[in-house]
Symmetry: D2
């Protein structure tokens, strides 16, 4: 029930994270910090960003400790809503001990799934993996042996609508907060995407915006690049064009075949995806138009 | 007179940076941000860090814009000193348009010197390089042709005391804020170091704490390491043991000779040193015992 | 039975790798390549290195394809031994389709073990993990469920001799080629080390030679370094002082606690160890005194 | 006159580098190494690469020492041409002590130019910078004070043809081997490009193939990427589409403005360009269709 990270051992029960986005203007930090002080909260971490102090947009993340938080959470929220209104804030408060509920979508590739399963088991990923949905049967065994429900939902052009209905129903039922496409080789329709705005994370196996679409390693090989990469991003309607959360690259050279690139790429993909998922789980990401502010 | 960095174009004349270190306890951010709000300041950037919200040490850097700052600076400082007293703060306020005055010490190697000269010329390093001191004549030409005073002060075991007297007198006269040892191959005595606490930056050509002392590349080659590095740190009395500001590394392999490592290392040294100097110049570094908090 | 890597799809049955180390002098490459040509071999990869063409040591790795290799391997070897004698070569020939037999030693930490198990399963690590030995029971389940024998051999100061006898007997029985210490928290005695010269790979959780010995992350935190690392090396009698195979680092900052460093470090450790093991498995490493030549 | 790099101190006068590209088939290495052995040459470095041992293309770089090389170079070349003919080789022999003659094209940005000037001065870049051509006057001073001829050749749509005639005449006159576009903001016409095939190196300020064309940093900022990069490539008729020689990236985040990206990018650009130029100068690059084989 306790976590040690970025300098603090703490009991998660009394910890919350406040995310704020609003037009920038003087007095925001003073008001928010005064509010928290008066509530008896102790700030553990605070990060802020302004796109422009004169007329830009202001983003803030505060992680605080407040004894008795769970009992008094709703009172706190309604009190804060008065502060928020004055600054036209979009805001959310999340409780560190309420694990986010995650659905993972996979196809046949196992490396991203394994990484998430392993990080959850080791405690590095503090989330509740509520279910895994796949259009193939291949990965049932490792999922079920981890005690997680596995749903095989095949997808064909003809059955896509019904398949998505089943996916949505399952996610609804489980109260899913976050969807992770861990090398899921199907494109989600707008209907699914709009149900989870900025809550579907995809891993694309290229350094976006290079090599949007399919077969990025083959195209990277063809182009003769000297670094290959992977990109985790929120899914929007336009393919591979949503807000980028994290990217990383690895060096390749003339000796590397497409197969070598896929092998090297697997290591990048799983690390980049796991980082992005962790940041989302820990409420470190705010979306600013088609970009992200990541308080890592 | 204006600078564009990290999101903001601004007139430096009305910009200041407040650095704070104090015991952590609730209410610090609320008090400081309220104070600045009441003064009419607009926060541009704010970073904070606590080693432990319960009984640890709290560090904060606030960059703010305040119209009329220069005329009212001392009133602001005396008003803030009352806030500071209540929290037992160590603090300092620096004005963005008052360039820090820098002395560079060199011997014969030119790469770190050139990097600083070039970054100053390009505007990437906003400092006033007031003088260069060297125990050799070699680098007089590039320094003087940049319009900077060059002082050749030879150092031998017999003349070390007098040499340091001359160095100190020159630096006193020029009102030096920061001393940069840009591959200066002499050890400063305690007398010099204590005059500039946490204001002398050295670049050591290894990934500290590996290879403290002389000939680190030869020793790295001998040990067969696969990465070599450089470390910028504040100078303290114990050799190569002061607070580390920045480090970086580069890959080497079995084909690289000691000479190759020196060549590769030169690239790391100059980048690491320039980064550390920039951070100091922009008041981004706070010292916490023998460590640094860097709000980069 | 076929592998695609570094540009070539091939049937492993007819592939061999020749490793050579000898005093450098003119004619070595001409003789070796002529020999292989006359045997009908087709060179797939060839790498070489000389510490000094005048009086230094010469290292070579040749991967070649030779139809009918398996039937004629011993004839080839005895023919080559005549070439080798003339140049005072130390050499070895290994067959790509004969998987090396590996023993993994673990204690309680699972991340390095999981990485090796996963890479073996995915086909990225072409080795036969013949057994896992641990001084604790904790990791029995994942090992056995992968179909690998798990041996719990507790070690105390009193039982160390007998424990090592059991370890050696098990490894003897299985014909182990390579021992991997995947965060095994015991020091092997000289008796074990000398039985597997340059065939025991350890992962040390620091950027050697910094932080030799125990608790490197705590000491890295204490020193305030800005990068932490991991080192894979062959085990020799002197602790953490054997030939370095691979190293890597990751950035940390003032916010990272010792626990954060351990978490970040786990990612480096498993990647660095897996890379070193792969290189050994693929006969890419030659030892040169206390250093390695890695034809990666 | 002597150089120490990758393990060897040597007198450059007796050192040559042989580059070979031909259809792969058995016997190439045996023939070439036998030829060199019979000539009395001692191989210092040898690298090779095959795109496919069965029907692919074979690339080789051999650096060798041969006493009396300069006097006997042409005899050596005509002797080797007989070996080469049998294997349909494209090949070239270059002499380490004959510095390549380089033309640098610049506009107003100085960082890439300064890097090349500094590396030449420090001896890290062993080339003869024969002239600098610019469409602006801005950089005359640093060039001329380095003792290098500076030619201001303005370019407008109307004068482009004449300007290129002058550029070509100057390069002809100086016997230029290599043209380096060090942030030259004009597009060369096909006429110039075809005169220096695979001998014009450009630095593009993005991680190609992302952000081909103008204003890549602004577009990277707009897209919200988390890494920015630079690419050195040979110039071909299609814009930013020639064989990539080297790429590198640096991390950015939401706080970085377009101006910050330009500043960070300058550091990547100069390093990547200098690396590519060094490799070309040292005959380490072979072109394979639209890709490069770099024996770094």
């Amino acid at each position: 029930m306790s976590e040690t990270s970025h300098g603090v051992t703490r009991d998660n029960r009394d910890i919350a994270r406040l995310l704020i986005a609003c037009p920038d203007r003087p007095g925001i930090v003073a008001s928010v910090s005064r509010f928290l002080f008066e509530q008896g909260a102790n700030i553990i971490h605070s990060d802020q960003h302004s796109t422009d102090p004169a007329g830009g947009r202001f983003f803030m993340r505060i992680e605080f400790h407040l004894p008795g938080l769970l009992q008094n959470g709703s009172a706190l929220e309604s009190a804060f809503s008065r502060v928020a209104r004055g600054f036209e804030m979009e805001w959310s408060l999340s409780y560190a001990d309420r694990l986010k509920r995650m659905a993972i979508f996979v196809s046949r590739a196992d490396h991203c799934l394994y990484e998430l399963l392993w990080q959850r088991k080791s405690g590095d990923l503090l989330a509740d993996i509520a279910l895994v949905i796949s259009n193939h049967e291949d990965l049932r065994e490792p999922v079920e042996s981890s005690g997680i429900a596995f749903h095989h939902i095949p997808v064909t052009p003809e059955t896509k609508y019904e398949a998505e209905e089943r996916q949505l129903a399952l996610m609804e039922e489980k109260g899913i907060d976050l969807v992770v496409l861990a090398r899921y080789m199907q494109i989600l329709s707008e209907r699914v995407i709009s149900r989870y705005p900025n809550r579907i994370i995809n891993i694309h196996h290229s350094f976006l915006p290079a090599f949007v679409g399919s077969n990025p390693y083959a195209r990277a090989h063809e182009r003769g690049v000297k670094l290959i990469g992977a990109t985790a991003h929120y899914v929007t309607e336009e393919l591979d064009a949503g807000p980028i959360i994290e990217q990383d690259v690895q060096r390749v050279d003339h000796r590397d075949t497409v197969e070598d690139m896929k092998r090297i790429g697997r290591q990048i993909e799983r690390v980049v995806l796991a980082r992005a998922v962790s940041w989302h789980i820990e409420d470190r990401i705010l979306v600013d138009g088609n970009k992200t502010v990541v308080f890592a």
